[in-house]
């Protein structure tokens, strides 16, 4: 057992209102620089939809992530031999058109326009060419099902849905969508790290944050092609690739990452997980339907004395183990099993988990006003407007059972709380629902509290980073006693 710690995340999709506050917080802190205009380390997508970059989930096109062939894990996008043969042209590189051409507006025109019969307008100007542009795409172009016949209807997660289900999904009176906020998953088996010819990417030992060394990056952009979630970006100005750093400077000072901190719907949870690093390869090679369960099995119980002892032996500080015991992520993922990894079939073992959304009941329009198919407020989840197949493609690697389990448990918790607070549901009925959903009243109460009444400290259990100890491995702090900081930090020299 090789116990390591990982800062992990849970996004509760049932609470996300799609306000993009997280994206803006991230943009303002990290990517409002030259060369980073088109980057969205955090973005929020509408599902069904194709997201950013367009149809990133379609690995037949983008060739990201791992393939498991003959019991071997191989990168789809590159290999040692391919690195040589594709040295002048990487065949799996997304184009700017698949992200979008960043633009701003000619605001000065509002003030400087000569007097005329019309109100002056601020016309869009490309941030690449500086010319006027006809905007054809944006970072959230298919927001709220915008342009559905082009985008949402080509959502790769619709694979396996019957023609009837597809039509219902996009029938005018039955439209349904939910939001999917995305950041770097800080995977256990990151394909970006594996693909880098320069060894610039690394997974931080103490907390599992995947980082990109700006001094070692040589602009191969292999990570951009290899990441199936398309969460590494190339900065054309510095000539280096960049990615979400999980706001590690904030984490190290005990603050939640900016997107977590600013989340209006309080959908985000952060905490430490202990896992068994010696089993990563074995787990990543599991058959697709078993991947969700296999990844859960790699996460260890921090309350187990044997695990704690092994963690301590591996240099994990007692305070981190203590933090893992209070981790909300551990509860959602391992105890309650209601948070699921996105597209784990890419086999990178993402460490960001999503609680699947409870979609409203299917409605049908007959003659007259819209009629609900079911009169139950907490209806049968099988009748939900978002087909189970769709959610399973997104969050269960095709395994509907895992999604159904998570949704049934959430539904049972609602019935249970309804019985307690409103009283139009009998306690016996609620108890039966809980039993069917593999849930106890105590667990239901805990889920309810962490979902609805969660405070800042409940949501973000940030482990002490012990940077003062980690830094001692590299430099002697006493040498810099009289200085401010640890000397000069130089910016990357390459690039434009």
């Amino acid at each position: 057992m090789n116990v390591r710690s990982q800062v992990s995340m849970v996004f509760h999709l049932d609470k996300c209102i799609g306000c993009h506050t997280c994206s803006i917080a991230c943009k303002n802190i990290w990517t409002d620089r030259k060369g980073a205009e088109y980057m969205w380390w955090n973005n929020v997508e509408t599902k069904p939809g194709t997201g950013f970059p367009t149809a990133w989930e379609d690995q037949d096109k983008y060739n990201g992530g791992w393939a498991c062939e003959d019991g071997q894990l191989r990168l789809k996008s590159t290999s040692k031999a391919k690195t040589v043969f594709n040295i002048f042209h990487h065949p799996n590189m997304p184009t700017m058109d698949d992200y979008y051409e960043p633009w701003t507006y000619d605001y000065q025109h509002l003030f400087n326009a000569p007097e005329g019969p019309d109100q002056p307008t601020a016309v869009p100007i490309s941030m690449v060419t500086g010319e006027l542009i006809n905007i054809k795409s944006g970072p959230n172009w298919d927001d709220d099902l915008g342009g559905s016949p082009i985008y949402a209807e080509h959502d790769p997660n619709l694979k396996g849905l019957s023609e009837e289900q597809r039509q219902q999904l996009f029938a005018v009176e039955r439209l349904v969508f939910f939001y999917l906020p995305r950041i770097c998953n800080h995977c256990l088996n990151p394909s970006c790290v594996a693909s880098c010819p320069s060894g610039a990417l690394y997974k931080r030992g103490e907390d599992g944050i995947v980082l990109l060394d700006q001094n070692r990056c040589r602009a191969w952009r292999a990570c951009v092609a290899a990441c199936p979630y398309k969460k590494t970006f190339f900065n054309w100005s510095t000539g280096k690739s960049e990615k979400c750093i999980l706001c590690y400077p904030r984490l190290e000072t005990g603050q939640a990452p900016a997107c977590f901190h600013s989340c209006v719907g309080r959908i985000r949870y952060l905490g430490v997980l202990l896992y068994d690093a010696s089993r990563i390869e074995e787990v990543a090679k599991s058959p697709a339907e078993e991947l969700v369960e296999a990844q859960r099995s790699i996460i260890l119980d921090p309350h187990d004395p044997a695990v704690a002892a092994a963690a301590r032996a591996n240099g994990i500080h007692d305070s981190v183990i203590e933090s893992a015991r209070r981790s909300p992520v551990y509860k959602f993922v391992k105890e309650w099993k209601i948070a699921l990894p996105p597209h784990i079939e890419f086999r990178t073992l993402p460490m960001l988990f999503y609680v699947p959304p409870m979609a409203p009941v299917m409605a049908a329009k007959e003659t007259g006003p819209v009629k609900n198919v079911s009169d139950d407020l907490f209806h049968d989840i099988e009748e939900a407007r978002v087909p189970m197949r769709f959610l399973a493609n997104l969050l269960g690697a095709g395994n509907e059972g895992k999604v159904r389990y998570a949704l049934r448990k959430q539904k049972a918790v609602r019935w249970y709380r309804r019985a307690l607070t409103v009283g139009d549901v009998s306690h016996a009925q609620a108890a039966e629902m809980l039993a069917q959903a593999d849930c106890t009243p105590e667990e239901a109460e805990a889920i309810y509290r962490l979902t609805s009444l969660c405070t800042f400290d409940d949501r973000f259990v940030i482990p002490p980073m012990h940077r003062e100890e980690a830094i001692e491995m590299l430099v002697d702090p006493l040498e810099h006693k009289q200085n401010a900081g640890f000397g000069f930090l130089t910016g990357p020299r390459r690039g434009l």
Binding site: T50, T54, A55, D58, P91, M93, T95, D97, K136, H154
Partner: protein, 287 residues
């Protein structure tokens, strides 16, 4: 380590420098003759008659020694200065200006004048030039010349075939190279077999000289080459453009073929996703 290396090298460098100084007077002898052979005989003879440039036999009786040295060092400058005798020479050679020879300096020019004086006194100078027959060339000789030109028959001293830089008429295939001039009318330009033979004996242009210095054309190969060039000139005309056109077409075809190969090799490459989605969904062929 680096320091000791430098120290060890110093005495060697000093010895080399001394040797160079000591060898300077030896220019009068063999070195001057070698220099003359490499640089002068393509245009001049000593007692063999006029080629492109005048016969140099007894040149010091025709001009001052001081004038000769200055002319050798920089012929163009003398002509530009309006020197009368230089102008006369220029007329005699129909406008061909003697090139400035690389490595020429006053000391070397003195040595050359001494060499010419010495050779002029001999009954038969070693620089009398090639004596070449006047009889008409046979078809076999012309054919041999063609083979040498095309590189089918390699030069005895491993020199490159004419074809690599020059073209001529009816060479077949992709015709010859375009780096050097078209040699179809070379015989007319050089005027006589003798001039051409002298040229081939030691090609003196900046491009050809370094190439053929170490791989001279053998005297037995010169005759067939002249035969071939004379035959070319006799037929008149320049290289037909058929070869150039074929070359262009083969080049375009080859480039096209390579693009097809690249497209097949990277057939599963990433192509734009969004644009295709838009185009296929709208079906209007526009965004």
């Amino acid at each position: 380590m680096r320091c000791t290396w430098q120290l060890r090298r110093w005495p060697a460098a000093a010895v080399q420098g001394l040797c160079l100084l000591a060898s300077a007077p030896a220019l009068f002898g063999q070195e001057a003759a070698d220099f003359f052979r490499q640089n002068c005989i393509s245009c001049h003879t000593i007692g063999g008659g006029r080629l492109t440039g005048p016969d140099l036999k007894g040149v010091s009786q025709r001009a001052e020694r001081d004038w000769l040295v200055r002319f050798l060092v920089n012929p163009q400058a003398m002509i530009d200065r309006g020197d009368a005798y230089s102008q006369k020479l220029l007329q005699e050679s129909r406008g061909v200006v003697m090139p400035q020879i690389s490595g020429m300096n006053p000391a070397r020019a003195e040595a050359l004048v001494d060499l010419i004086d010495a050779e002029s006194k001999l009954e038969k100078s070693q620089f009398i030039g090639v004596q070449i027959t006047d009889r008409p060339f046979t078809a076999a000789e012309v054919e041999t010349g063609r083979q040498i030109f095309r590189g089918e028959r390699s030069l005895k001293n491993n020199g490159p075939a004419c074809l690599s830089c020059h073209t001529a008429r009816n060479l077949g295939g992709l015709s010859g190279g375009q780096l050097g001039p078209d040699l179809t009318r070379a015989f007319e330009r050089m005027e006589s077999r003798k001039t051409l033979a002298a040229w081939l004996g030691a090609p003196a242009t900046p491009t050809m000289a370094p190439v053929f210095k170490k791989h001279p054309i053998d005297s037995e190969e010169i005759l067939p080459i002249i035969a071939f060039l004379e035959n070319q000139a006799a037929d008149g005309g320049e290289d037909l453009s058929a070869g150039k056109l074929t070359f262009l077409l083969v080049g375009l075809g080859g480039a096209g073929l390579m693009l097809v190969v690249f497209d097949l090799a990277w057939r599963s490459r990433f192509r734009s996703v969004r644009k295709q989605l838009v185009l296929s969904s709208t079906g209007r062929g526009e965004e």
